[in-house]
């Protein structure tokens, strides 16, 4: 397990975990899957029941693949732009991308589970652990078709990966003093 740089100029803001599976960083793996037609066709066929329930719409498999490709491209464009040009106004940009995993969580704290999606209706998710202000580590990603993550095996796995990443970051001493004090105070 290792930590790899994604965006670190002009300042460090985005990293990804590489679990050592041979598929590279989680960010690379996720975008590779979201651009792999065979993977997507298998996924939507396996989860066709959830697809039919999603957003009260009926999506055909080929339509679902088309939507995924379009949104994945959009998502990757945003990150690619940040990685190439740097994030000049981190306050607005990165903050608008990542949110607490739990929708009811109004506090922001160190080692908090977080998520990002290309638009509010999208089923694509990047999952990350927030280390400090504008500093995130991507732990994985998924196509989330159900309301809760623990309802399906592939999203349950993402919860486990977030736990594992959080433990690893804690072991590495990546706890922000400012945020840590905030937690201590409750």
């Amino acid at each position: 397990m290792r930590l790899v740089r994604i965006i670190n100029t002009p300042k460090p803001i985005l990293y990804s975990i590489d679990y050592g599976t041979g598929q590279g960083s989680e960010l690379k793996k996720v975008f590779s899957e979201w651009n792999d037609i065979e993977y997507l066709e298998n996924f939507f066929n396996k989860n066709v029941f959830d697809l039919n329930q999603y957003d009260k719409n009926t999506y055909t498999i080929d339509k679902a693949i088309e939507i995924t490709l379009k949104e994945a491209n959009k998502f990757e464009e945003i990150l690619h732009h940040y990685a190439n040009d740097g994030v000049k106004d981190t306050d607005k940009k990165l903050q608008s991308l990542f949110h607490p995993l739990n929708n009811n969580d109004t506090n922001i704290y160190s080692l908090q589970k977080s998520k990002a999606k290309p638009n509010h209706k999208s089923w694509l998710r990047l999952y990350a652990i927030r280390i400090a202000e504008h500093l995130f580590v991507i732990s994985g990603g998924a196509i989330k078709l159900t309301w809760r993550m623990d309802e399906r095996e592939h999203t349950r796995l993402e919860l486990q990966k977030m736990d594992r990443t959080r433990d690893y970051l804690k072991e590495q001493g990546l706890l922000d003093e400012k945020d840590f004090e905030y937690i201590e105070m409750g």
Binding site: R2, L3, V4, R5, I6, N8, K11, P12, Y15, S16, D18, G24, S25, L27, K28, F31, S32, N35, D36, I37, E38, Y39, E41, N45, I61, D62, I65, E66, L69, N73, E76, E77, L79, H80, A83, S110, I131, A132, L135, Q172, G173, L174, L175, D176, E177, D179, F180, E181
Partner: protein, 154 residues
């Protein structure tokens, strides 16, 4: 143990790995043809599933390796016309079509094709495959292609 400068600390631990950025750049630079490859892959996979046909069978009929078919159905292969034509013939579907030129009594889209050769050798301009019926989408695409004199994919 919390640290004072977590940004400095993470830079000490992290390693360089430009592979995602490299792939993202490749996808961006090749988006136009990759999009076509992906659409062909969708059509091939949906057809295989509908017919209960394995990729291995398709590979055998095409006389190519299963690895080649695997690349095609991932939507990452820069397909040749020969490969597209084989897929069309074996699966009995249309994946690629060159639009017909406008009829002579229609408003021409440009003067480029109003040549003597065009009139005398219409067979050169005929598509390889005809639609069994004129669907709405085909009509729309044909209209668009007549404007652009480009190539249509289905």
């Amino acid at each position: 143990m919390a640290v004072r400068d977590v940004y400095k600390k993470i830079e000490e631990i992290a390693e360089d790995d430009g592979s995602w950025l490299e792939e993202a750049r490749y996808r961006k630079e090749n988006r136009y043809w990759l999009r076509k490859s992906q659409r062909i892959a969708i059509r091939v996979l949906v057809t295989l599933r509908e017919r209960g046909m394995q990729q291995k069978e398709l590979a055998e009929q095409m006389g190519v390796s299963p690895q080649h078919i695997s690349k095609i159905v991932k939507g990452k292969e820069n397909l040749t016309l020969q490969t597209i034509s084989k897929l069309e013939q074996i699966l009995g579907i249309t994946l690629f079509q060159i639009p017909d030129f406008p009829k002579r009594d229609e408003e021409p889209f440009s003067g480029e094709y109003q040549t003597k050769e065009r009139v005398e050798m219409p067979e050169l301009c005929e598509p390889d495959y005809e639609f069994s019926e004129e669907t709405e989408i085909n009509k729309r695409i044909k209209q668009k292609e007549l404007e652009n004199a480009g190539i249509a994919y289905y």
